[in-house]
């Protein structure tokens, strides 16, 4: 009986750890200066928090009811696969729709590769780039997306 209770306490502490990591991730979303650093805060630590929470729920149901939930295992695997893919796709779309980097960022080597021939007549301070975030005619850049 005491062993089962100890396993339940492990599950509860896993869930508590996951919720604390989730709050830290939300503070990262609030405080970081840029969409790329914000995605760094959102995808990694949110994935860790949901993995800890679902694993805790799985262990709790296993020890409390003797019930091995296949749906929780499927949820863990699905979240573990799809959360980095979603973060990568949103960051790729953000860079290709010219969301500017933060102020203190270093050298941007991808910019001359992707938009090298288009930005050479513009000034370097990036005033055009900030305008291009709110896009009206988006369908003319379709040939950049083949890679």
């Amino acid at each position: 009986m005491s062993e089962s209770q100890g396993i339940e306490w492990i599950a509860v502490l896993l869930i508590l750890f996951g919720s604390i990591v989730s709050v830290i991730s939300a503070f990262g979303m609030l405080r970081l200066p840029d969409v790329y650093t914000r995605s760094h805060a959102a995808t990694k630590s949110a994935t860790l928090s949901v993995l800890c929470c679902l694993l805790g729920a799985f262990i709790y149901f296993w020890s409390h009811d003797g019930y091995v939930s296949v749906r929780l295992i499927l949820g863990i695997i699905f979240t573990f696969i799809t959360a980095p893919v979603a973060g990568h796709l949103v960051c790729r779309a953000a860079y290709r729709s010219r969301v500017p980097l933060a102020e203190g960022s270093g050298e941007d080597a991808l910019k001359t590769v992707l938009f090298g021939n288009e930005t050479e007549e513009e000034p370097e301070n990036g005033s055009k780039v900030k305008q291009a975030v709110e896009r009206e005619v988006p369908s003319e850049k379709k040939d950049h997306n083949q890679t």
Partner: protein, 94 residues
């Protein structure tokens, strides 16, 4: 004691979702809002797991899978809209 810790962690998840709602309302660009919506979906998954532990039922465990799939597909659609301006592409024009 276990139930109190469960309710505390549920409250912590709600605090995280409230902070992410601020990022959705305030967010300067559209990818910020897309990432925040994806993180809200991921947090809702774990909140549903905690609710199903607190209510001592197993009926909500399907909702975890469905919510995960819906959050993923929604984020994919958002990123495709941000990148190309359309969600469903038609090949017949060219």
């Amino acid at each position: 004691m276990i139930e109190k810790i469960m309710l505390l962690s549920l409250a912590l998840f709600m605090v995280a979702i409230a902070l992410l709602l601020y990022r959705i309302i305030k967010g300067p660009t559209l990818p910020d809002r897309a990432i925040a919506i994806d993180t809200i979906g991921v947090n809702l998954i774990s909140a549903i797991a905690i609710v199903s532990i607190v209510l001592k039922t197993k009926a909500f465990l399907e909702a975890i899978l469905i919510l995960g799939i819906l959050a993923f597909i929604g984020t994919i659609a958002f990123s495709k809209y941000i990148e190309r301006g359309v969600i469903v592409e038609r090949k017949s024009r060219d």
